[in-house]
Point group: C2
C-alpha cells in the first residue's frame, strides 16, 4: 500500500485471477443470490446468460478479495524493505459498476486496476482521495466487469 504522494495517475496493477467453478458459483448464489440461473446449469442455459452464471455480487466480492490480498502483499513487501507502510482507509462507494458480459462456469477472470484521479481531502487533510478503475477480463480477452472505486489513502507525514 503506497502513500498518496507516491501514487501516479495511470498507475496500473494486475491484482490476480480467479476461476469461477460451477461449485463456487452455486455456493455463493445459495448464500446471497439464489436465482435459478446462478444455481442450475440447465436454467442458466435457458436464460439470457446462456450458461450457469456467477452472481454479479460474487464477481464483485472475488475482485475485492483479490484487491485486499494484493494490498496485503504490497504491505508485506514494503515492510520487508524497511519502508513505512501506508494503511488505506475505507471506501465511501463507487460509480459505474458494470457487469458487461456473463461470467460462466469455468471462466477465469483476471482483475487489474488503474488510477484515474487523485485529490486531497479538504475535511481530512491527513487523507487523499483516489479514484481507480477496476476491470475484469476473461480468458478470451473480453472485459466482463468494471467499476470506478473511491478510496481514502493516507498522506505522507499526515498531510502536515
Amino acid at each position: 500500500m503506497r502513500f498518496f504522494e507516491d501514487i501516479e495517475i495511470g498507475l496500473r496493477r494486475d491484482v490476480g485471477s480467479f476461476t469461477f467453478t460451477a461449485d463456487a458459483i452455486r455456493k455463493f448464489a445459495a448464500q446471497f443470490d439464489p436465482q435459478r440461473f446462478h444455481l442450475d446449469e440447465e436454467e442458466g442455459r435457458k436464460s439470457l446468460f446462456g450458461g450457469l452464471a456467477a452472481s454479479g455480487w460474487h464477481v464483485g466480492s472475488v475482485c475485492m478479495k483479490l484487491l485486499v490480498a494484493d494490498g496485503q502483499s504490497q504491505a508485506r513487501e514494503a515492510a520487508a524493505r524497511g519502508e513505512k507502510i501506508a494503511i488505506w482507509g475505507p471506501s465511501p462507494g463507487f460509480r459505474e459498476l458494470r457487469w458487461i458480459k456473463p461470467v460462466l462456469a469455468g471462466d477465469t477472470i483476471r482483475f487489474s486496476n488503474r488510477v484515474e484521479t487523485k485529490r486531497t481531502s479538504e475535511k481530512r487533510p491527513e487523507w487523499g482521495i483516489l479514484q481507480a478503475r477496476n476491470t475484469g477480463i476473461n480468458q478470451r480477452g473480453e472485459a466482463v466487469y468494471s467499476f470506478l472505486a473511491t478510496a481514502f489513502v493516507p498522506r505522507r507525514g499526515g498531510g502536515s
Copy 2:
C-alpha cells in the same frame, strides 16, 4: 414479480431487514474482504468506521438476498392467485452505489426499493428495462446504502 406493463414509476416496496451481527460481519470478511476493520472489533474502533464494520460487499450481497427472496415470495403469491408469473431477467449493472454510513456490528438495516424509470428495449422487444433505487436504512433512520439498479423485466405477451 410483475410484468413491465404493470409496474408504475414511484412504486415502492419494503424488501425486508437484516441484523449484521459481529459473527456474520467477520464470516463474510474472512471469505471476501479480510481487512482489519471488518475482522476485529478493536481495529474497527480505531478506524474511520469507529467499530467493527460490515464489508460494503456484505451489505450489497445481503440486499441482493432480500431482493431475491422478496421476488420469489411475490411470484408464489401471484401463482397462488392463479396469475401468470413474470420471470425477470438478469441485471446488466447499476449506478451510483454509495456506502453512505458504516454498518456496524448490531445494526439492523431495512431495505426498500422504488421504481425510478422504465423503457422498452429496442434490441429485445420482449423485454422492458427498469431502473430502481435500492436503499438501506438503519435502526436510527439513517440512510446507509443506496444504489440505482437496472433490470430486464418481461413484457406481457412478449412485447408483441
